[in-house]
């Protein structure tokens, strides 16, 4: 399996950062970046990563099962993560979550039929000061209201 030249270069640099024999440490970042490129963690990708880092395939599986940000199923182009943890919940996180579900017509860990959006209810994302907060792929959106959420969706739709 080959990746884009940029990603290959990134992997090479990354693996070199770990002391000899500890390349295993690059497992999580490698999976994350590869996932960004391939859209999801495929069997082929697991095979490739385990080969490159000399780890058992089952060790890769262990990491996949543990971290929710690594996923085997394809997600929407925009993966929206909405926090409903205490700080956000107190100022409307729950309402925002229900509004989002209603607006997009999907539930937790589901994807819209056009493949544009997927939703996930998450625990604290470290943006309590600007609650309620949410993430679109890697971009944070702060102090989100149902109205600003609708506007965000519109603008994301427009962009395509």
């Amino acid at each position: 399996m080959t990746f884009s030249p940029e990603l290959e270069a990134r992997f090479e640099k990354m693996i070199g950062l770990y002391p000899p024999g500890r390349q295993k440490g690059a497992l999580i970042p490698m999976l994350l970046y590869a996932q960004d490129e391939t859209g999801r963690i495929t069997d082929e990708l697991i095979e490739e990563v385990s080969k490159r880092l000399s780890v058992n395939k089952v060790e890769v599986e262990e990491v996949l099962g543990y971290y929710t940000m690594l996923h085997r199923e394809p997600r929407g182009r925009h993966h929206l993560q909405i926090c409903t943890n205490v700080s956000c919940m107190l100022v409307g996180g729950e309402e925002l979550w229900h509004h989002a579900c209603h607006k997009l017509g999907i539930g937790n860990k589901q994807t819209t039929a056009d493949g544009q959006f997927s939703l996930e209810e998450v625990e604290c994302i470290g943006a309590c000061s600007w609650a309620p907060a949410m993430i679109d792929n890697y971009d944070f959106h702060l102090r989100v209201t149902p109205e600003s959420f609708d506007a965000l969706i519109e603008s994301l739709r427009q962009k395509q």
Binding site: S54, V55, V58, E59, E61, E62, G65, Y66
Partner: protein, 697 residues
Amino acid sequence: MSEIVTFTLNGQEIKAPKGDLLIEVAKRAGIEIPAFCYYEGFSLQAACRMCLVEVEKMPKLQPGCTLPVGEGMVVHTESPKVVESRKSMLEFLLTNHPLDCPVCDKGGECELQDMTFRYGAGESRFTEIKYHENEKQWSPAVYYDPARCILCYRCVRVCDEGLGVGALGLTYRGVHAEITPSHGDHLQCDECGWCIDVCPVGALTSGTYRYKSRPWEMDHVGTICTHCSNGCKTTLSVRNGEIIRANNRDRSGINGEFLCVKGRFGFDFVHHPERLQSPLIRRDGQLVEASWKEALETVAAKFAEVRARGGKFGVIGSNRTTNEENYFLQKFARQGLGTASIDHHRTGDVPTLLDALSGKTGALATIGDLYTAKAALVIGSDLAQQHPLIAYQLRANFRHHQMPLYTVTRGPVREDQYSKRALRAEPGAEMEAVETLREDLAKHESLTIVFGDSVKGDALRRLVAFGDSLGTKVQYLCLVDYSNSRGAMDMGLLPELGPGYHAAESAGMNLDQMLDDASLDALWVVGANPLERRGLASEAAFVVVQELFLTETAQRADVVFPAASAYEKSGTVTNTCGEVQRLKAGPRIMGTKPDLEIMGLLAKEMGLNLGIWTNDKVFEEIRRTVRGYNVALPVVATGGAAPTMPVNGRVLAPASAELIRSDGDTLFTSGSLGRYSKMLSSVMEAPGRLYEEKPAK
């Protein structure tokens, strides 16, 4: 010697080497610190929190499994605080654990059950519905019930560290966490089943034993595995005359707890429906059932007739029958039938090795030596496939002592994972590659050389000369195939050599010559299947076979005697290292007789006086007359492994090195016997391939 520290354990003053783990020191002092995740010999996990103890001046309870003892420590292992913590731990472990003990395989020998009995609460504060996941089948041998699992990681560690397979992992989080197999929904591994044995609860269960019996309903018989030549002790659990489980949890025997798929699951051939249970006589071209009396009379009469007219006999012995049987067979052939044509399927060149080592002492390695060896060289064998215990011992040595290992094989082997240098060489051409290791090997304090069937005759002499020239202490281990291949040679099942490698008075035909001799009058095959790979030239030969099954050879027989397998008889066998161990009879299969009894009855029928044919008497004679076999009787009698004294003197090694060839069995084959094991043939890895190991871990 490391520094000795003095500390107080439950009010008792204890001295122990500094740095030893508290849990081990306490065990030596007779104090049990309960633990689920701690497992002697494997990496520390500190996952279960059962071993928490109170140490004065330490603010919190400390895990005894990772706590090294120190000077002046004051430890309490049964204080109210500790007992209360254990009770809480158990309450947590039981939160989602189903209370199906009455039907669980482990019920009665479950560590969680025992601990709950001792420390647990009678009731739980958790009233929520238990989180449940259904049971999964991972392979014909291994089943996993996530609900019962307490996540102690024992299985993960024995698989990864002990065997180097690493087929198990732990995935998901919190209440959903569970053990996961290597290939999504199924296992691809050695199928050794050790994970099942070490499981403290009933989460891992075995395909052969699950839901068949209660642990206390079985009789346990410690005997020696009949498959490969490593000589593992396997404890057969027998219920109503049927073997339903095999393991070695009491760690008796040279293998400790280790067993491969053959030792743990390969016993099922015993109860195969095609087992012969009556003598067969050929009538009008068909083999039909006959009485023992008739069969014995027929054979005795024929043997007497051939002997009387000076006809040609051929006698082929077994790699799996006991020393007593092999000894008696060669005595029968040489003295009773007056023939020197006796042989067996040779799988390693032990006679040449003994001859080349003539005059040296302590030059043969035992299974135990492999764990303490300072360095090792493996030539021409895929150990993980062919000799699992030897592979395990070397790996354990590397794990615990970082022993340097070198491999010279024709393809990748699992040992490459941790070997210092791994070289490839075609069979027969290994010595050139070995020469290139000279500098590396000479550096080590001592060296153990393990070699397969391709190193024989002159190549073997060259190897020993190479070892001599290193200037370091060298031990050798000549690998052979089956449970008593070594014993067959030691007992003189060779045309040129009698028991103890004494030159025979006259040399007869070897195995291939017998089969190729068109004028052979009688062929007697005990527990072997030579016709599987070579035809019998003599059409007129009267063939007598003692077998478990109607093999290719038995199908050609004129008379077939139904023999008992190694698991159904007593006696001794000698493993590939030359260590003598005792077999103990487990079940009896109706209609069969041990080979020694069959031979004895035949001798009686023929009016021969070959001595008393009970195991004890024949073994006594072996100890008295066979060089090297004057082994310590108490060791053998108590189920230990007694090393034979290597023959120290020249051996007239047979020149016919081409007759030596290993069957090349994998983990999942075992000569013609393996074909009758359902478990060995049903796992998806079967039949397995040699030299296929992926180089990366």
